[in-house]
Amino acid sequence: MLEDKQLTLLQDISLTVAKGQTIAIVGSSGSGKTTLLSILAGLDLPSQGEVYLKNKPLHKLNEEQRSQVRAEHVGFIFQQFLLISSLTALENVMLPAELANDDNAKQLALDLLAQVGLSERANHFPAQLSGGEQQRVAIARAFISKPDVLFADEPTGNLDKKTSTYIADLLFELNTKYDTTLVLVTHDLTLAQRCQRRIEMQGGQLVNGPIPSDISKEQCGTETTHIEVTE
């Protein structure tokens, strides 16, 4: 539950996501999808309840410690791409690896750019790239640190249909390749249907089963990205 001007945004949510699983959070605008994503990713804190990411209790960590968790385990893809305008495509992709002091950042970034088909655009600045290209750079950036969990907020929300399909294909392909857990928030039902799980939110609550029967609580051990949000 988040308290902001006495407004309850989320309540009674208990959700566990297993490692490598792809999960889509769907729901109408204002249903609490984005708030849930923010809490799951450790960008925000619940006013009550517990959140675990790779067994780390995010709800007990401060901003700096959560940053550290994100640096080690999390990747992001945003609807508005959010590339750093002063950095080239290559430098944008390198950024998370550099923050993690990875000496091999440049080579990794070049490989990833090649995988998203942007090798020739490596030295271009974001303003010189189209929307689809920017999102491909963002995807490459998200995967460079080989995150355990990738959070995507409306990754195709700003793209046309053809580009959306291409981006979605790329996202799922890399997800499979790197065995990453994918949590995405989307309005796009086609995209949502490509995920193994779909949960729907309404008025800040989950309206269908949070944990599918094929994943038991016991399976959410160290190998599981265990995210639990309870009141």
Partner: protein, 873 residues
């Protein structure tokens, strides 16, 4: 070093700086800091030099930088009675130590003789180094216009004023007797630099060498002499001497510079100095406002990047180091550019006014200009400009920077800064507190007056809050008007109202900038017109002194015949104030002494020049009591009017009875009015003016002033040759010198005005730029929904025009109030209302803000909808 450059945050910081500089993203921040540093550097350097040069120039009016004046000769060694007093040896040692030049001048009245003919003259005995400043110009023949600058005359020779030749019937090369000694007339003194303007001095001057003074045997016990010790040197050395010397002065000694002299020039200089300081202060305030506005925009622009860094797991310390380094490099870069621009601006300023300032004075050093002809601005302006740049860069940007660094990573999702209300309050407080404290500090450094700085700041805050409220109200009113106007106006005014909060801040900045500009223009023209009024065309340039009543009438007739302008005629009766309300005043108290001494009341200590008038003289105003009415002349009522500073000094009030000794007679008159006298007017002024009935029957001499054009000089000389007793005081040269200095001051003031206007304009541009992102989004939306280009263009233009117009109106009101206070309390000038500047404020605000706004949005207006949408995503 190389390793440091490889550190991630250093690399990213440098990358960010390079990229943003290249793309012009930092133009406004850089311009704001450059502007601050450049204005301070150029204003401090320029006004400092101008002040120095003007003072230097004007020191010729006292022939030195400082003068120690005394009625007694300095003792050679400190006496046992006054061990703390000044002695000649001490002063010589100190001057030598400080590398200060010295000269000496002794003034006294005496008779000179040429055979049987005699005349009363003022003898000026000067040492060989005289004059230390200005020029003593002499001519070696009566008809020659060629003059040469000289020092003291050789032993046994004199320079005399031209008038004395005809009075004594002598010529150059003849011999005259002064006291017990004989002198040869070597040349005619055409200009004596420190010849004071006083119609009551003995008139014609003779300059002798001070080494000849003893030979004349004129100096006897009880002789009335004035000793002047003249000093000149570098400003710092003179200041050091002043600090050392001042505490040692006794009651008969005075230490003064040109500014402490009561003269129109001192007045003009004092005001110009205040004006230049005020202009510098306003320049700094404008620069600080610009930095503040630009840094807020900078922080807003980088919020999403910080959010991304944080989302990617960057630590707080990484982000802090990255942005603080970025801002520091940016500040350093801007400060350097600012120093360079300030230097160029000041050089251009010097170049522009070089014809008005003496060459050797505008060069800044004794050695003159450098090989390039550039003027060194000095160390102080450099330090103060760097300090201002650093303070502006950090104090005015620290809050936005801290906010930026603490941006929540949530902005990547929500797109806006999320802060709790309590945080917002603390941020808001610090947002204002730190810059305000910094501003107070800067104001204090520049004014050296904590009270003035505090008043300016508190006044500024009060005015800003008031402006904020009025601005909001005005925007509401215009919104209502807008609903009845055309589509463009409707949209413009709706936008204005919708962004009321942001616009109010913008409005206050516009208002402050326009207000400061108007203020500086209004005060400038008020100062200039007052200076002009002080020396209008046909200011009397000749004073005729020592006339009889009949001679005065004939002079009047001569003036009418020759169609020359004659001033009022004043009768002068010498008298001594002996008692106030029957309390006898003490025998002799020097002018400077203020504390009571012995028993009885304090007096003036010398004979007074008394006059009578039917009407109040022009430059006088009654501050207490009443001037006698015309009808009361026949009532034969004895009464006197007294000048206010003397009344205060002697504690004389309306109704007090004053007793005067006039020769052998004693008169007693009540005080019926107290007058304020403009001592700066080039007119005879009097402490005591009597009702005509009181003094009319006493023997008097008369003074008249006339304006004599050059082409009428010969006629006057012919006319006066029949009246050898009339003394002529020619102040033409002094008026010319005064006009020249006033012209220089005016030019300096105008140049500084241009700099401040430039600073103000940049604040306006910075403020318009600050709202660009928001406008970009709006234009994108409006274009997408099909708004026509002309509608968008007009609505943007009109929105800025309305904003500028409202700001201009508020600025005019605020300016009127501030100018009133400044004229009243800082400049001690007559206050006035400036309706014409209201129109200027409103129109210039509307036009300038309108044009800048439209030009800033022009690029956006011409972009396609797709590009705009992509940019704003």
């Amino acid at each position: 070093m190389m390793n440091f450059l490889k550190v991630n945050w250093v690399k990213q910081s440098i990358q960010l700086l390079k990229h943003e500089l290249k793309r012009g993203e930092l133009t406004i921040v850089v311009l704001a800091i450059v502007l601050g540093v450049a204005s301070v550097f150029s204003l401090a350097g320029f006004s400092g030099k101008i002040k120095q040069a003007l003072l230097h120039e004007s020191t010729s009016f006292i022939a030195a930088d400082r003068v120690l004046q005394s009625s007694r000769k300095l003792v050679l060694h400190p006496s046992s009675k006054q061990p703390d007093g000044l002695s000649r040896v001490q002063i010589d040692n100190k001057s030598q130590q400080l590398n200060i030049k010295q000269a000496e001048k002794v003034l006294m009245s005496s008779m000179v003789f040429a055979g049987d003919v005699m005349a009363l003259v003022e003898i000026q005995a000067v040492s060989s180094a005289y004059p230390l400043r200005g020029e003593l110009l002499v001519s070696d023949s009566v008809d020659s216009t060629r003059v040469s600058a000289v020092n003291a005359p050789d032993l046994g020779s004199v320079y005399i004023e031209e008038k004395l030749l005809s009075v004594l019937g002598v010529t150059i090369g003849d011999v005259i007797d002064i006291g017990e000694s004989r002198f040869t007339i070597k040349a005619i003194a055409k200009q004596i630099p420190d010849a004071s303007f006083s119609v009551f001095t003995s008139g014609v001057k003779i300059i002798i060498n001070v080494a000849d003074l003893d030979k004349t045997q004129l100096v006897q016990p009880g002789s009335r002499l004035t000793y002047k010790y003249l000093f000149s040197g570098d400003t710092d050395d003179i200041e050091a001497l002043t600090t050392w010397l001042k505490p040692k002065l006794n009651e008969s000694q005075r230490w003064h510079d040109i500014q402490s002299k009561q003269s129109p020039l001192a007045n003009a200089l004092n005001r110009a100095e205040k004006y230049l300081s005020l202009a510098s202060l306003l320049g700094i305030i404008l620069a600080a406002v610009a930095v503040s506005v630009a840094s807020r925009r900078y922080a807003q622009r980088h919020q999403s990047s910080v959010g991304v860094y944080k989302a990617m797991g960057a630590s707080l310390s990484h982000i802090r180091k990255l942005y603080y380094l970025h801002w520091s490099m940016l500040s350093l870069f801007s400060i350097l550019i600012g120093l360079l621009s300030g230097y160029i601006l000041a050089q251009l300023g010097f170049y522009a006014i070089q014809d008005y300032l003496p060459v050797q004075l505008s060069t800044g050093s004794e050695n003159g200009a450098s090989t390039l002809g550039l003027v060194s601005l000095g160390f102080y302006p450099l330090v103060i400009a760097i300090f201002t740049g650093v303070l502006c860069s950090f104090a005015f940007a620290i809050t936005p920077l801290k906010e930026l660094v603490s941006t929540s990573p949530l902005v990547v999702i929500r797109g806006a800064q999320q802060t709790s209300s309590s945080q917002q309050l603390s941020i808001r407080i610090s947002q204002f507190l730190i810059p305000l404290l910094a501003l107070l500090f800067l104001l204090f450094i520049f004014s050296g007056d904590i009270f003035l700085s505090f008043s300016l700041l508190i006044g500024g805050i009060a005015v800003s809050v008031l402006l904020l409220i009025i601005g909001r109200l005005l925007m509401k009113v215009t919104r209502n008007i807008g609903t009845k106007a055309g589509a463009s106006w409707h949209l413009a005014l709706a936008n204005l109202q919708r962004r009321a909060k942001e616009n109010s801040v913008q409005l206050v900045s516009f208002t402050i900038a326009i207000k400061l500009l108007l203020m500086i223009i209004v005060i400038k023209s008020a100062l200039l017109s007052e200076w002009q009024a002080q020396l209008p065309e046909q200011t009397p340039n000749l004073f005729l002194v020592n006339m009889t009543k009949n001679q005065a009438a004939e002079v009047d007739e001569f003036a009418i015949q020759q169609q020359i302008t004659a001033g009022d005629i004043y009768a002068v009766v010498l008298g001594r104030l002996t008692a106030i309300n029957d309390d006898k005043i003490t025998k002799k108290v020097s002018k400077e002494k203020t504390e009571d001494n012995d028993n009885g009341r304090q007096g003036v200590g010398r004979e007074l020049n008394l006059t009578w008038r039917e009407n109040l003289p022009k430059e006088n105003t009654i501050v207490e009591g009443q001037w006698w009415q015309k009808g009361s002349i026949s009532t034969n009522q004895a009464q006197v009017s007294i000048e206010q500073t003397l009344a205060k000094r002697l504690n004389i009030k309306i109704g007090d009875n004053l007793t005067f000794q006039l020769g052998s007679e004693v008169i007693k008159v009540p005080v019926t009015s107290i007058r304020k006298v403009n001592w700066q007017s080039m007119q005879p002024n009097f402490y005591m003016i009597f009702h005509p009935q009181v003094l009319a029957d006493y023997p008097a001499s008369y003074i008249s002033s006339i304006y004599l054009p050059v082409n009428k000089k010969i006629q006057l000389q012919q006319f006066l040759s029949t009246y050898p007793t009339i003394i002529v005081i020619d102040v033409d040269e002094m008026i010319l010198q005064l006009r020249k200095v006033i012209e220089q001051v005016s030019k300096a003031v105008e140049f500084i005005l241009v700099l401040v206007v430039f600073a103000g304009c940049l604040v306006l541009v910075a403020q318009v730029q600050a709202s660009m992102e928001e406008r970009e989004r709006e234009i994108a939306i409006l274009k997408t929904i099909g708004a026509k280009g002309s509608l968008l263009r007009n609505s943007i233009l009109l929105e800025f025009v309305a904003l500028g117009g409202i700001a201009g109106l508020m600025a005019s009101v605020a300016m009127e109030l501030t100018v009133y206070l400044l004229q009243r309390f800082l400049f001690n000038m007559e206050t006035s209302f400036h309706a014409e500047y209201w129109l200027l404020g409103i129109l210039s605000g509307a036009i300038f803000v309108g044009i800048v706004g439209l030009l800033s949005c022009w690029r956006l207006l011409n972009m396609s909808s797709v590009t705009l949408i992509r940019r704003t995503m």
